[in-house]
Point group: C2
Chain length 350, copies 2
Amino acid sequence: MTKKLTLKDIAKSLGVSTTTVSNAFNRPDQLSAKLRDHIVSSANELGYYGPSAAGRVLRTGRSNTIGIINHAEFSYALKDPLAVSFLQGVASVCDRENMSMMLLPGIGRSDKEFPAFDAMVDTFIIQSCFITDDLVKRVLAQGSRAIMVDGKIDGLARVTISDKASAHNAAKHLLDQGHEQFAILSFQLNATERDNLFSLEKLNQSRHYVAIQRLEGYLSAFKAAEIPQQQILIKECAENTGDAAYQVSLEILTKKKRPTAILCMSDRLAIGLMKAANKLGIQVPDDLSVIGFDDIEAATTCTPPLTTIEQLGYEKGQLAAELAISDEQPESIELPAKLVIRQSTKPPKK
Amino acid sequence: MTKKLTLKDIAKSLGVSTTTVSNAFNRPDQLSAKLRDHIVSSANELGYYGPSAAGRVLRTGRSNTIGIINHAEFSYALKDPLAVSFLQGVASVCDRENMSMMLLPGIGRSDKEFPAFDAMVDTFIIQSCFITDDLVKRVLAQGSRAIMVDGKIDGLARVTISDKASAHNAAKHLLDQGHEQFAILSFQLNATERDNLFSLEKLNQSRHYVAIQRLEGYLSAFKAAEIPQQQILIKECAENTGDAAYQVSLEILTKKKRPTAILCMSDRLAIGLMKAANKLGIQVPDDLSVIGFDDIEAATTCTPPLTTIEQLGYEKGQLAAELAISDEQPESIELPAKLVIRQSTKPPKK
DNA sequence: CCAGTGTCCAAAAGCGTTTTAGGGATCGTT
DNA sequence: AACGATCCCTAAAACGCTTTTGGACACTGG
């Protein structure tokens, strides 16, 4: 393997200055077409196909890359259909703009792990409920910008959905149908404690923006209906997976006073719940109403099709990417999310 | 916003050399623990959290990044379940090794488009049926390594599956059941011509490794059974999507001499085909046997569940990533793929 | 013929880091 | 008391590029 060629090598070998070679590749208007063609084609023949990125990034500070920081490891994040559509949305903008996207190792749940945030990235899209202000400070310290998705960090522009209002609507829908016994299947509120007992204290300490918003939305509807909060059974699922929900659901559904309606913070949780109900011989929606969140594809194909809240993952990704590449000071945006009524909800039996 | 801090700033401000600061972050054994702690904590206080990647990459030539080149745009590639599991596999290794993965803009189908291959990437994983030797030369010219997935390029280590043998088995399965009238739903053999007429000529000119292998596998089984190739109806689908297959299938299934069995190069094509059959009132498997390829999740949930060839997308991704980060000269690997018989195949009616 | 106006190209200064080669102390050994 | 070994640290070069500054040259118009 021969030594790697550089701009300077080409310049010397052609008897022109490095400036001129650089211009030939980057600023065609700076030299005559004839010379430019000559340089580019000679360079190709020699085995040089353009300036190396490393040098350019160091010099210009721009890398044409969007970095994506997720709260989970990526091998896990890619299992979440919503996360995948989000990435698709980001990718669509990157494709259009000819930018690259860089997936950074997940942050994990421990504050101690600091991954390599020193990546060469123009803008980070942060989608992590576990990110701390301190971490963000590091990101910004290296000169990158950052957009926050589904979360809230002081000073960062945000892309969110109307979590709270939609959650409120979901609960209201069940109340309107006449339900009185409720349970909520929640995400893990706290990164470290992994029990599934809910407490107001935990809610206050939680940094999981989405979970907080949705919970507050649900609870505000119950409050308006004058249902005391102690009467609502709230359980956390360790992960956003059907399996995690399945386990927790068995517990909920075998209680002596079983709820007649359950609100789930995601469709994946709802589907795990329905699997548990099915296992126990509990009919959805006849014996139990279920509402999901997200409206992933599986929500339409499961039986019964899931009443849920539709959120636009793809558009969220697009929007985040647009903010990321925009030159202007980006502004925060809240996307709408709406209740989609299918067959998993029904008034309770008398 | 203040000026970005550098190693040198920290060194000056602490009264030590830049070497020492660099060592404090990268080679703890090169200085006393006391000094190291002092340097790191002072640096953090000043707002410096570690050496910038841009400088390091330029200096060391290593970026701890795996680049992924796909044949399609990423917004499209992410819609393919198999591609997603592949990415998951790659991601699992990256997570473990704390590396980043970089998704590069797709190559597209035209030879003229040369995307930004000058990315700062240690190793490229190339998964593109449209990549040319010339393109690879460029990649290697910038000093990166490359692993080829599902394809063949001289000089590159490869990760493939047993496309040909499994395709042969699939066709053999139908022959054993007594079928005599066949069709094949193929990928587009050629990047530019977009008609769906097959010809041997096109097969010979094709660079679409996977399509060629599978086609040869199917045809070898027919040859062994002494079925003349002209008798096999071969149609290409412009994209690997259900919609593309749906259109082409309508055409095939309304022919006067309709095949009793159809081999599809992917499950997505097979599912589109079954949708068309359903639309035309043709029963699968009673009136028509269908075999897919890949064994994506939808193959188990569709009706009827699809007889198909299982391939290990996740493992393929893992393996490719392992080769990518390995220090040794990587060797090519072929993963097994096996026929999974479900309910979409059946002997033909007499 | 001369100033004015373009056009094209060269020299040089960094961008932030790592690493090589080596310089002083300090220590233990003879 | 001298000497080598050991430990901590530093100076300086190199990595490949872009961009600013300005010079050389060939044109124009007066």
